[in-house]
Amino acid sequence: MSGRSKGLNGWLLSSPALILLLLAASGPLLIVAVYSVLEKGDYSGVRWILSGDGWFNVLFQRDIFDQTVSLADANLSIFWRSVKLSIATTLITFAFGLPTAWFIATRPPKSRALWLFLITIPFWTNLLIRTFAIMEVIRNQGILNTFLTWTGLISEPIQILYTDTAVLIGMVYVYLPLMVLPLYAAIDRFDFRLIEAGYDLYASRWQVLRGVILPIIRPGIVAGSILVFIPSLGAYVTPRVLGGGKNMMIGNFIELQFGQGQNWPLGAALSTVLLLVVLISLVVYTRVTSKDDPRG
């Protein structure tokens, strides 16, 4: 009796949150899913007629003249670039983030707060502005090329802007703090005496890193990788500004369908694909990284 009313109360109390969650999170997803199976409107929007064209166009294209079906190479290369750049961003932010987080976590407690504060300063400025700043650094007449020419290392400016490298540099810069912070939290909890225990038991520096440090700070590595990989995969501003028009990533491609391309069902299908890719990578990633965990 009391248990039942308690359960009922619980539901009543949490109903505002549940309704909000349902509307704000599931609602848009549902709309996107529905749009992906409707027919494309003449100029924009959708016609309320069931159609598989949206999903078909994710991977295939039909020739307008002879109606032959072929793989949509352009789409595939955009997917591949997105995945490739996101994985590279995750790996590079990890390579830079680990020493950075280690450095901060080994400072005296007083100066740690200052270092963490410095790490978060870029968040104070708008993403667009930060991205334009990067552009200013890497463009042909920018700081980097001017400096390299001045030192005599190069005679011609290197074309970095509007390449995949530019996009990569921008994403690494933007997402590095998202890697550093969870890594720092994990290293902060790490018991440094375990390093001595490792050396004492005949482990080399490399073996201590691989066999002791990395497995113990793994939760931080997983969190940081997820925090970097997911927004990288859906990045919009960075590839738009630094990649120019041609080095599109999924985010730009989706925007194109809702804007100029005026193909809402394809845009909706692409968004759903992005969501699924993220979910599947999350599952695979957490599975793989927890494989040899005795806590299982």
Binding site: E196, A197, Y202
Partner: protein, 351 residues
Amino acid sequence: MTKQIAIDARNVGKIYGVGVHAVTALGDVSIAIEQGEFFTLLGPSGCGKTTLLRCIAGFETPTSGSIHLSGRDITYTPPNERPVNTVFQSYALFPHLSVADNIGFGLKMQGKPAKEVKAAVERVLALVKLEDFAKRLPQQLSGGQQQRVALARALAPQPEVLLLDEPLSALDLKLRKEMQSELKRLQTETGITFIFVTHDQEEALTMSDRIAVMSAGELLQVGTPHDIYDRPVNRFVADFIGETNFVEGTVEGSAVRIGTGDLLDVTLDGHSGGVTLAVRPEQVSLRADGSGIAAQIVAATYLGTDTHYTLELGDKSLLVARIQSNSAGGMRVGDAVGLHIDAGAVQVLSA
């Protein structure tokens, strides 16, 4: 047959920091520890015990002097290349590895084949009686069990020397007593040289083959528990090991006249002039008939088997006597008694 020397520290000094912040942790320590010995470093907090141990393990490099292991100079050898293992005070077990993997860690790092590691782990698990816990994680064990895993992990690679830095200090009294005998058994069974750090003098006396008493970065005395207890070289050692009464006196002929005017016929060992006598409470006996040095009982503490009597002598100085409770019959606070000192056992120190 002379014993082989396992660890030979020669004039080891260690200074932390530079300039005004410099701290001398070890002054000039020379010590030769024999193979298969249970050797204890004993001393008050901050005297440099951990520092000496860390120099032997390789975590610190001495600022001066050298350290030799079985005749080989290892002063600058990194810790992972020394056949020396440490049982850390904090245990420092790897939280992500099972008990078995913790114990096998050292052998695995040495590149031993998996089969050999497995066999060694099983053997050591049996040695510390933890066979049923092989699959558990360290945090699923009690403090005493974690302690045993730490011990097993350090023993598994069969080091030449095992270093133990106050390994028992985190355990409660009962477990501590158990682990003391366990440690002693393991040392005898494995024949490995143990260098054990403690600031508990009782622990040092019961477990060690030899003890080194340290103070402020210097070795004061090295010897068997009997040597240290019965023949302390100075007041510090006598005070640190067991309870001691210090009685001032002056040498007169072959005896020492103390403050009360009484003469004590002690073994002088060449001392002359002003001396201090170290008198253990159990070397004092009391006579109800008043013969001997006149004294008055000012306090009595009943400790079960023994009773501690605080006595005031004629010159107002105080002396503690430990008397077996059942032979003390009838002596009360306020009673005047006669006091005898077993002069043959008294140690004479320079004043």
